[in-house]
């Protein structure tokens, strides 16, 4: 009898506490994670890889045109296609899981600064295997940056066969890697959109982790390192991204815009849809959603207002760049603690008894 009494008291108090709690919070229980994944895959990732693929194809063909007719005009076309491809890449590199992870796409295309000595020795040696780890900073967009935009290399790319071959090899490698990723996504898409849940191997969790990682990479690589956060405040300009073409600020802005768009659920071509923001709203965490939205907005709006390159801004007013860095850092905390905490996403892949 006693036990039954306890049971009744337990369930009774349970019901009371439920009622009390539910008054204030309007959680949307019918919201599905699958909506986010479906929208992301269909409207962002698939068209995004298509765009990157197409622009790299254009890059290759403009290079071939340049090879047959090495005019400044044709070089300008190559450079324009390189820049366009780079921007597409920075809008896509946050999806480093599944197919992209298998290829190692983000590192293969986006490692900087590049090792110019390694590039030079690769050019001379010919037939080197560019897939090796030691060559990771001799390939990708930043290796091309060194070769296509460096005034000292102008003669070489116009007349030196070995240099020309190396450029072509780099472009082929990048194109093939993107093509592989793009094609793999055709199969992976169905796995992805079904991959809900919080387990660390679920595509939803993989996506959240990759998103946060790319965000931190923006902070550390694009701003922090060159601004001296890891060197007692001494600026390290050699660590700047795309420094020969001088588009570091542009790709920073595009990267930040992309992270913002994906958070809000926008498509690759700016259509609107359901994203992480909507999920936070469904969890009745709209305050958090607004804060993150605002902060992500500032992250691309602020550098848009800078005149000159990142380097010039560090030179003129390092404190301003340091403040911007601190703002990104504070935003990281919102993403990595509050947001992942709200989603209940696990980032460890081993057993855990929850403590």
């Amino acid at each position: 009898m006693k036990r039954i009494g306890i049971l009744i008291i337990t369930i009774g108090s349970l019901l009371i506490s439920c009622k009390e709690k539910d008054k204030g919070t309007e959680t949307n229980t019918s919201f599905d994670q699958a909506q986010i994944l479906e929208q992301l895959a269909t409207n962002y990732i698939v068209p995004g890889y298509d765009s990157l693929h197409v622009s790299l194809l254009d890059l290759k063909s403009s290079w071939n045109t340049f090879l047959t007719n090495s005019t400044d005009e044709n070089l300008a076309r190559v450079q324009a296609n390189w820049k366009r491809s780079y921007i597409h890449f920075d809008r896509m590199k946050m999806f480093e899981f599944g197919p992209a992870m298998n290829v190692g796409l983000a590192a293969a295309l986006g490692t900087f600064p590049s090792d110019t000595a390694q590039i030079e020795s690769n050019i001379v040696a010919e037939n080197v295997n560019l897939q090796t780890a030691t060559n990771i900073d001799a390939v990708g967009f930043n290796a091309l940056d060194y070769l296509l935009f460096n005034k000292n290399k102008l003669n070489a790319i116009k007349s030196d066969v070995k240099t020309k071959n190396y450029v072509a090899k780099l472009m082929d490698k990048m194109f093939n890697e993107v093509e592989l990723t793009k094609n793999d996504w055709k199969q992976y898409k169905s796995t992805f959109v079904k991959g809900t849940g919080s387990s660390s191997t679920s595509p939803f969790a993989l996506f959240i982790n990759a998103y946060c990682k790319d965000f931190e990479l923006l902070k550390n690589a694009k701003i922090g390192f060159p601004n001296g956060t890891q060197s007692l405040g001494v600026p390290l300009y050699e660590y700047l991204e795309a420094k020969y073409a001088g588009i570091g600020k542009i790709v920073l802005i595009e990267n930040a815009k992309a992270l913002h768009a994906v958070f809000n659920g926008n498509g690759y071509n700016n259509s609107s849809g359901i994203g992480l923001r909507a999920y936070l709203d469904a969890l009745s965490k709209s305050d958090l959603a607004n804060t993150i939205d605002e902060r992500l907005n500032y992250l691309h709006k602020h550098p848009e207002s800078w005149s000159g390159s990142i380097r010039e801004n560090i030179e003129m007013n390092q404190q301003k760049v340091t403040d911007y860095y601190a703002y990104i850092q504070a935003t990281t905390v919102f993403l990595k603690t509050d947001m992942t905490g709200a989603f209940g996403v696990l980032i460890t892949y081993q057993d855990n008894d929850g403590d």
Binding site: T337, L346, N352
Partner: protein, 450 residues
């Protein structure tokens, strides 16, 4: 008074069948064998014990060091040998000691990998060494290394029942807190992640289910050992054990833990149940049992008292055990919180006051970073390690050469606990190289504001 004391003594030391102990031995050995092999097959030896360059030792156990490189497989192989020895009852005492030593050695290496059920396995294997679980249905008996016995004093079974009851009961006590009972956190957060499941997805995302699970879980943990103990309620209680643990296994990534509990709770079953499993046919009657004089019951009593006391350590610290985690471990606080943190460390040059921001990935594995970022004792350990790394170093940045003789190490740590907005846990006010790692309350932890 005198009589009741005697009755208790007689009741706990009377002769009972050895069968439950023997079955427990086989089950326990099988579990440890399985989970050790699983650990190795999953590649976790490499991931957790070979890859890291820095380990987080327990206070007082800093002298326990990993074996270099692939040698780290040795203690795992010893665990396998020990487990097989326990199952077969071959060189039982040696193998029980071997398993306990190898397993506990592994666990003491890095608190990153602390799990309550590993602690439970260490404790139980320690107990197993003292119990005569190999005196029946074993190769030791078959090969006549030891004499077969059929009866044992009851306290050998009771101590195992006590150990398992303690785990449940304290896990239940730990759930009596505001977040668990009145906010249904962290279960609300964890369950809503299953919102996409067909049919039941909406329920999973509904707060009422989280409240139901929270309250049921608390009630279950507090009462299940008693329901298992009494014959009348045992069957229905075990039914709930199976349902409960399978449910947690399905929902949460807690590995072998549910199976450990499902299997080990069989120690509560009747003697006849265990007798059937191993075909135990007693030739002696319990009245013939003669209890040998021994210090063992006293020792087991002492062990039990320590076990009872350890989880209350947190009372020696200021409020907020979830926040500062002082007295948190070894207390059966299971599945109690969702903590997310970002910890940034700075090496500060005392002359210029300029700093180097540390990329944690250069020193720690992702799992280590994940655990360290929310646990203050690990934060100070890592800070000390960084201090050593940068002590007396000359750094060259382009034209500039900077000598760091004894740099400060500061940390800025933000943590979100059970769905609350993040708040500052450690501020850059403190030079962590000056803060000792000891059992005292850590004053450099910012107070928790609810």
């Amino acid at each position: 008074m005198e009589i009741s004391k005697n009755t208790v003594l007689i009741s706990v030391s009377r002769g009972v069948s050895i069968a439950p102990l023997v079955v427990f031995r086989v089950f326990f050995g099988a579990l440890t064998l399985f989970s050790t092999i699983r650990f190795m097959v999953n590649g976790w030896v490499h991931e957790m014990y070979i890859k890291p360059t820095f380990f987080f030792p327990y206070l007082g156990f800093e002298w326990i060091k990993p074996l270099g490189g692939d040698l780290m497989y040795i203690p795992f192989i010893l665990c396998i040998i020990g487990s097989i020895g326990i199952i077969l009852g071959l060189f039982y005492r040696f193998n029980a000691a071997l398993f306990f030593t190898a397993f506990t050695y592994i666990e003491l290496l890095d608190k990153t990998n602390y799990l309550n059920h590993y602690y439970a396995v260490s404790l139980i294997s320690f107990l197993m060494y003292f119990l005569p679980a190999h005196r029946y249905f074993s190769l030791d008996v078959r090969f006549k290394f030891t004499r077969q016995i059929e009866l044992i004093p009851r306290y050998f079974v009771l101590i195992l029942q006590f150990q398992i009851a303690l785990i449940y009961f304290y896990a239940g006590c730990a759930k009596i807190n505001e977040d668990w009972l009145f906010k249904a956190e962290p279960l609300k957060t964890w369950l809503q992640a299953f919102r996409d499941l067909p049919f039941i997805g909406n329920w999973m995302a509904s707060p009422w289910l989280a409240y139901l699970f929270s309250w049921f879980g608390c009630f279950y943990d507090l009462t299940i050992p008693f329901f298992l103990f009494f014959a009348k309620t045992r069957k229905i209680a075990y039914f709930f054990v199976v349902i409960f643990h399978i449910l947690t296994w399905v929902l949460f990534p807690i590995g072998v833990f549910p199976w450990v509990m499902i299997v080990l709770t069989s120690i509560y079953f009747s003697e006849s149940f265990h007798a059937k499993i191993i075909g135990f046919k007693p030739t002696q009657s319990v009245d013939q049992f003669q209890n040998a004089k021994s210090f063992l019951p006293l020792f087991l009593c002492f062990f039990a008292c320590i076990q009872l006391a350890i989880p209350w350590r947190y009372l020696a610290y200021p409020k907020g055990v979830f926040w500062h985690e002082e007295g948190f471990r070894f207390s059966w606080r299971v599945m109690l919180m969702q903590k997310e943190g970002v910890a940034t460390f700075y090496i500060v040059d005392r002359n210029s006051n300029k700093s180097i921001e540390i990329n944690n990935l250069n020193y720690l594995t992702p799992i280590q970073i994940d655990q360290m970022s929310t646990q203050p004792d690990m934060i100070v350990q890592f800070a000390h390690y960084l201090g050593q790394q940068f002590k007396d170093t000359t750094l060259i940045f382009g034209q500039e050469h900077v000598h760091l003789s004894n740099p400060k190490v500061e940390a800025e740590v933000y943590v979100s606990l059970n769905g609350r907005p993040h708040q500052l846990m450690v501020s850059r006010k403190y030079d962590l190289t000056k803060e000792n790692y000891n059992l005292k309350h850590r004053r450099w932890i910012e107070p928790f504001r609810d």
